[in-house]
Symmetry: C2
Subunit: 319 residues, 2 copies
């Protein structure tokens, strides 16, 4: 029996962990809250002690571990793993690899969370065996991971895959967090869907979306998705607009990099075939015929496990 791999999916709220076999099967999983207080200075000690504790509980030691892979929501040097900044963790200039290696005496490898999730889907999920893969994660924002010839694309300074900031509405677009206008994320993310809903809510007094909003005082992408599944016309209109811009963007990227598979993940992807069929309709409208022929669209299948699985792949292939 081979050594275990530790996969870590470091998030701003929780940190997910798994012990995996060398072929990427999850043997044991757990999570801990991420302590972002005091500039996140407890995060690395917490990760180290949590791994040691769970090894102990499983009658293992670090000698049974091959290495630790980490996906982090961080802006880093892709060669060295040095983290310049991770806003959601409160980090600036953190050498996570050295600090963890010093604590655990195990090799550590790290990449950006969107890239790691894409690798997870390539290895074990909806992108299985696709050497040319585009993954889009639609949650609060929109992230992307691109794999070409089986390798993650980082780009020249780690900015590859910033699909949420592709401009889809160059004239009079909504202001985005990034400072630009008309980014895909302003329309087709969870936040963008809620914004769409609020804009016209007074015109749809009968909608399930409006009812839920009036009852709870809240409006979320989840409410919209659920209403769409129940065939609420206003919710379906929002899904259509969301899908139109997603389909257009995915087609334009596909005309550029010609992927064999396009995987849609993140919270909004729980809309499933309703969303996927709608994206595919617009994708087919805007992608070249041979580009369409080459590409499948699919919903991500690994859910919350994509990160730890992709992180384990890094240990297997990059250490």
């Amino acid at each position: 029996m081979g050594k275990w791999i530790v996969g870590v999916d470091l998030g701003g709220t929780n940190t997910k962990f798994a012990f995996l076999s060398d072929d990427g099967n999850i043997l044991y999983r757990w999570s801990i809250p991420t302590d972002v207080s005091n500039g996140g200075k407890n995060i690395i000690p917490d990760i180290a002690s949590s791994i040691l504790q769970k090894l102990y509980e499983n009658n293992k030691t670090t000698a049974d571990v091959k290495g630790i892979g980490i996906g982090a929501p961080a802006f880093m040097n892709m060669e060295t793993g040095f983290i310049y900044e991770a806003i959601n963790l409160g980090w600036k200039d953190i050498d996570i690899i050295s600090e963890l290696e010093r604590r655990l005496m195990l090799p550590v490898v790290i990449d950006n969370d969107a890239n790691v999730a894409a690798i997870g889907e390539m290895w074990k999920g909806a992108g299985i065996d696709s050497k040319n893969l585009l993954c889009i994660t639609i949650g609060t924002g929109i992230g992307g991971g691109i794999i070409i010839n089986g390798e993650i694309v980082h780009g020249t300074n780690g900015m590859a895959g910033e699909i949420g900031h592709i401009t889809v509405n160059p004239e009079n677009g909504i202001l985005c967090n990034c400072g630009k206008r008309g980014c895909l994320e302003t329309i087709s993310s969870g936040t963008g869907m809620v914004r769409q809903a609020i804009t016209e809510i007074n015109s749809y007094p009968e909608s399930l979306v409006t009812t839920a909003y009036k009852q709870t005082g809240q409006l979320t992408a989840k409410i919209i998705v659920q209403a769409a599944i129940e065939k609420d016309p206003y919710a379906l209109k929002i899904i259509d607009t969301t899908s139109y811009y997603l389909g257009l963007t995915v087609a334009n990227i596909a005309n550029t990099i010609n992927p064999s598979r396009i995987v849609i993940g993140g919270g909004v992807s729980r809309a499933g075939s309703l969303l996927l069929d709608s994206i595919r309709k617009y994708f087919n409208q805007f992608a070249l015929p041979r580009v369409q022929m080459g590409a499948d669209l699919a919903i991500a299948t690994l859910g919350n496990d994509a990160g730890v699985i992709g992180a384990a792949w890094l240990v297997k292939n990059k250490l």
Copy 2:
């Protein structure tokens, strides 16, 4: 002194050749007309005999040659070099590698012409030493070549780099040759520029563009570019629209693959800094700040030599 490399840039009108040194310097260049009659059946024999003749004139034999690299306007299997179709050559199902190898007893390597031109610029031109490079060729149409981590991106079925068919005007766009509407090529190619000019020509009776059109009965991108260089307002307006869509598209691609350099080539790029500055203005509007920081924009420097130089690179690196 090392062996020579033969670079071939196979075009629908002319075929350009060069003998190059192992480090990519052109030692000798020539060209012949491309005989596309009879389904292009003379093209391969013509290439073979022209190479043999020029070797003889240079007191060389095939024993002095390392191999032959070819860039072709063809749709091919990127693994085997088998050409499925090359519309401009009249070809269907041509095994150019076997046929040339049989005639010359030399190894042959081939790629798509846009990719080969991109490689040429990476090796010896405006993209020198850029491992993450986006090349756009603006002529009658718009083509693209993408290099990531120093390797050409072919995509899953050879369609990567079809930048001309990125949809920039999804609503009410002009019908493109590809069957879709609103492709970049319908606006920002040479053909697109002429179309822009003709649409409004009656509103600009004083323009140099209008005068040239009335005098010659013709309108070309070259006339528009020349008038713009002479600060003709109508021509400058056309350049501005052309650059707007180019800048938007290049920024969106850059947000996706994060290149270190973006090289603009092709006939229209002879407009030089006038065009480049205008594209850069819109690029900066639509690219994320760190993506902008990572990327230079430049005009291609190799002109007609890009193809033979890129073809030689294939021999050096792929055989």
